[in-house]
């Protein structure tokens, strides 16, 4: 198999005396949907936060390899460069949209770096030069493409906060995709969605994997989503990795059953 897209080695995160993530290693492959599952407090979100630069890990390496073989050591990168240069995007369990800005603006913000360069760091933007207008147009087309893809085109000019919950989730994914990521990290994308909406989400994630060639790493509690769409599942419990494999392998792993259901002592 080729070099994994993301390779996490011995990732450890301590908060004072508490070890939230303890020497966890796993790989995420290109064109795969990889799910991280585990009971509450297992360290899933903490691991996520380390990968996306929200936290600086206490120990371990997080290596991202692009298709052109350029290598990024995420744990050493300045926070905003993880999205800007290494091309890792993420969404949040509790949605973090720019509520006061319109749907379209939320998607334009995600293309900030390209627009900043096109506007010569604002100078051309103030004078609204043709080159900047072109860049704006391309950015807008991309935003429209993703609005269409997730089905929120009719709400383009509404403030993001005015959207219903399910649409906000979709917008968050669309916004993450507008940053042109190679790795998309989703923190509980199906939380709060009704069965029909989670079905739509499954379809969307599959199509992102297949048509955009983006690796997806997700945390999810909704097993109907996890088991159906994941190519690869990693199970964490008390900060440690207890299982790693396909849906079937994980489902039959005694360690996983023990973590979720407990075992009867005899």
């Amino acid at each position: 198999m080729s070099v994994p897209l993301l390779s996490v080695n011995n990732l450890t995160m301590r908060f004072g005396g508490l070890t939230a993530v303890d020497s966890v290693s796993f790989d995420v492959h290109r064109d795969h949907i990889t799910a991280v599952i585990g009971p509450n407090g297992a360290g899933k979100t903490t691991a996520f936060n380390c990968i996306t630069g929200f936290y600086k890990p206490t120990d371990g390496q997080i290596v991202l390899t692009h298709a052109d073989d350029s290598v990024f050591k995420l744990e050493e990168m300045e926070d905003f460069r993880i999205s800007q240069t290494a091309k890792v995007a993420r969404t949040f369990q509790n949605i973090r949209l720019f509520g006061g800005m319109t749907v379209l603006e939320n998607l334009m913000i995600a293309q900030h770096n390209r627009l900043m360069r096109a506007s010569l760091y604002t100078l051309a933007g103030i004078f609204n030069t043709p080159s900047y207008q072109r860049a704006q147009k391309i950015a807008k087309e991309k935003a429209e493409f993703w609005m269409d893809r997730v089905g929120i085109t009719d709400r383009a000019d509404d403030p993001a906060a005015a959207l219903p919950y399910g649409a906000q989730r979709k917008l968050e994914i669309a916004r993450a995709m507008c940053t042109d990521p190679v790795l998309l990290c989703l923190d509980e994308p199906a939380a709060g969605l009704n069965p029909r909406e989670s079905e739509e989400l499954n379809t969307l994630l599959r199509s992102i994997r297949d048509t955009n060639k983006v690796g997806i790493l997700l945390i999810e509690h909704d097993m109907s989503v996890v088991m159906e769409i994941s190519d690869h599942i990693i199970v964490l419990d008390y900060g440690r990795k207890i299982s790693d494999g396909t849906a079937t392998e994980v489902r039959n792993d005694p360690a996983v059953i023990k973590a979720y259901l407990g075992v009867v002592e005899d």
Binding site: R96, I109, H112, S119
Partner: protein
């Protein structure tokens, strides 16, 4: 009636200057949630830089309005750049290391920076007031009666027009350019902006530079309007602009402009009809009243607790 009209003109002129300074307060508050108490002193530095530039170029009074304006634009550009460097440096040295610290910490360094700038200018430029002869003089007589003449000077027109041009340009910057979008994004959720690849530190620095540059223009206009400056002007002008920002609703740009005009008018009318010694009392009483009865200000958004 004539007297009232004249005071209205004076009030709007003064209010424009306050409004320009108030924008710096409001922008910085919007983006990092701190009151930059050194902002008034950046205005003072801008004023001094303008004065020094004028002296170096040996600019003297001219009756040719267009030549005068051309020269002043050049002076404004120089003092905007230098004040911008001050703004950037202050943010870099005094505020950025404290970001993420407790809320009061940058407020205290801001006061420290303010004291430093006052003493720095006092030490290098001397404590005496610096006079400047009028560069653009003359004006129009709008109305005249036997005992009173209503005049609007070229200088007043210049101040108001320039202020509104800057405001318009600035509003465009914030609402339409990608820098403005990034600033609004940082204002709402800095961490999320960072995760979308926005360089938050640079965006904040830029905000300080823009605020300082606008304050420098205000400083130049103050210098030209009053013709005297000293190292202490930043204090009272700064506090009044702060009042204007609070009155308009801290964080709101049109609010800052509106608040500036209201404070300018209150001050001028109070001085005209009641007592010029107590004009500051009127302006600051306004601050107290607003804070008690309308803490979100005229155009501010009500504070919503984030869950």
């Amino acid at each position: 009636m004539h007297y009232f009209l004249q005071q209205l003109i004076n009030g709007i002129t003064l209010g424009s200057i306050y409004g320009l300074i108030a924008i710096g307060y409001t922008m910085v508050y919007g983006i990092i949630g701190m009151i930059n108490f050194a902002h008034g002193d950046v205005f003072m530095v801008g004023s001094f830089v303008s004065l020094i530039t004028i002296i170096i170029f040996g600019i003297t009074g001219t009756s040719n309005v267009f030549l005068g304006i051309g020269v002043l634009v050049l002076v404004a550009a120089i003092s905007m750049v230098i004040a911008g460097i001050y703004g950037w440096t202050i943010e870099r040295l005094a505020y950025r290391p404290l970001r993420g610290s407790f809320r009061l910490a940058p407020l205290i360094t801001a006061i420290g920076v303010s004291i430093f700038l006052q003493n720095f200018v006092q030490a290098t430029q001397g404590a005496r007031v610096k006079p400047l002869q009028a560069i653009i003089s003359g004006g129009f007589t709008l109305l005249s009666s036997d005992d009173f003449v209503v005049r609007i000077t070229y200088m007043q027109i210049l101040i108001v027009v320039l202020t509104f041009l800057l405001m318009a340009g600035f509003t465009y910057l914030i609402s339409k350019t990608s820098l403005g979008r990034a600033q609004r994004a940082c204002e709402q959720d800095m961490k999320m902006a960072m995760l979308l690849g926005i360089d938050v530190n640079t965006t904040i620095s830029t905000t300080f530079v823009i605020g300082a540059a606008l304050a420098a223009v205000a400083g130049l206009m103050y210098l030209l309007y009053y013709g005297v400056i000293d190292f202490y002007i930043g204090f009272s002008a700064g506090i009044k602009a702060f009042t204007a920002a609070v009155l308009g609703g801290v964080g709101s740009l049109p609010g800052a402009m509106l608040g500036g005009l209201v404070i300018g008018l209150i001050e001028v009318f109070f001085a005209a009809y009641f007592s010029s010694e107590y004009k500051d009392v009127a302006a600051f009483s306004m601050l107290i009243v607003v804070l008690i009865f309308m803490p979100q200000g005229l155009l501010g958004r009500p504070e919503i607790e984030k869950v």
